[in-house]
C-alpha cells in the first residue's frame, strides 16, 4: 500500500518566517511533486523532482524552493512566508513513467 506522509496536518506561521514542509514516500518513486490547492483554482504545481538533487519549477514557483537530498524525501521551503501563501499544500509521488500520482493528506498552512 503506497504511503505518502506529510510532516504536519496544520501549521500556523507568522509573516516573514521560514517554513519547512516535509514529505516522505515509501514506494521508492523517482518523481515527487508539491502542489497547492486553493478554492476555485484547483491544484497548482509548485515544484517537482524527478531524481535526487534534481528539481524543476512548476507553474507557480515564486516564493518557494525545494530540497531533495534523499529519494524518499522532498521538502518545500517558504523562504519568507507571506499571507498569500496561506493554502493547502499537497505532496505527491509517482514512478517513471508517471501516469498516476499518489498524494499525501495535505498540510493546511496559515500565515498570519
Amino acid at each position: 500500500d503506497v504511503k505518502v506522509t506529510q510532516s504536519s496536518r496544520y501549521l500556523v506561521k507568522r509573516t516573514g518566517e521560514k517554513v519547512f514542509l516535509e514529505c516522505v514516500q515509501d514506494m521508492d518513486h523517482e518523481n515527487m511533486f508539491w502542489y497547492r490547492q486553493d478554492p476555485g483554482l484547483g491544484l497548482r504545481l509548485i515544484y517537482f523532482s524527478y531524481d535526487v538533487k534534481m528539481k524543476e519549477k512548476g507553474d507557480i514557483p515564486e516564493g518557494y524552493s525545494v530540497s531533495r537530498e534523499k529519494k524518499e524525501r522532498f521538502s518545500l521551503i517558504l523562504e519568507s512566508a507571506s499571507t498569500n501563501q496561506t493554502s493547502m499544500y499537497l505532496c505527491a509521488s509517482g514512478s517513471t513513467p508517471v501516469y498516476e500520482q499518489y498524494f499525501g493528506p495535505g498540510t493546511r498552512l496559515t500565515v498570519t
Binding site: V4, R9, N31, F33, Y35, G40, L41, G42, L43, R44, L45, F48, Y50, E56, G58, D59, L90, A92, G94, T96, P97, V98, Y99, E100, Q101, Y102, F103, G104, P105, G106
Partner: protein
Amino acid sequence: DQQVKQNSPSLSVQEGRISILNCDYTNSMFDYFLWYKKYPAEGPTFLISISSIKDKNEDGRFTVFLNKSAKHLSLHIVPSQPGDSAVYFCAANQGSSNTGKLIFGQGTTLQVKP
C-alpha cells in the same frame, strides 16, 4: 490562463442515477488525462485515466470519455452512490510522461443524495 477547465463548481444527483462531470482543455498536445477524487481532509486519490489515442475507458461504475476534436472529456458514474460525494478533479499530462507534470482543473463538488 486556465488550460484545463471544469466549468461546473458543483453537481447534485440522486442516488442510483448517473453523474456526469465535464472537463474542457485548450492544449491539443496533452496526451494523457486523469480523474482524481478528493474527500475533505484527505489527499486526492486516482480514479481513472485515458490516453489521447483512445476515446473511452471503463472501470466498474466509472467511465471516462474523450472527445479530442472538441477538447472535452467527461466522467460518468453509474449508478451514483452517496459515498461518491467528493470533489472531482480532472488533470492533463502537460509534459513528458516520464515526469508526470500534471495540470489540474478547478474541481467539481459532487453531492449524491440518498
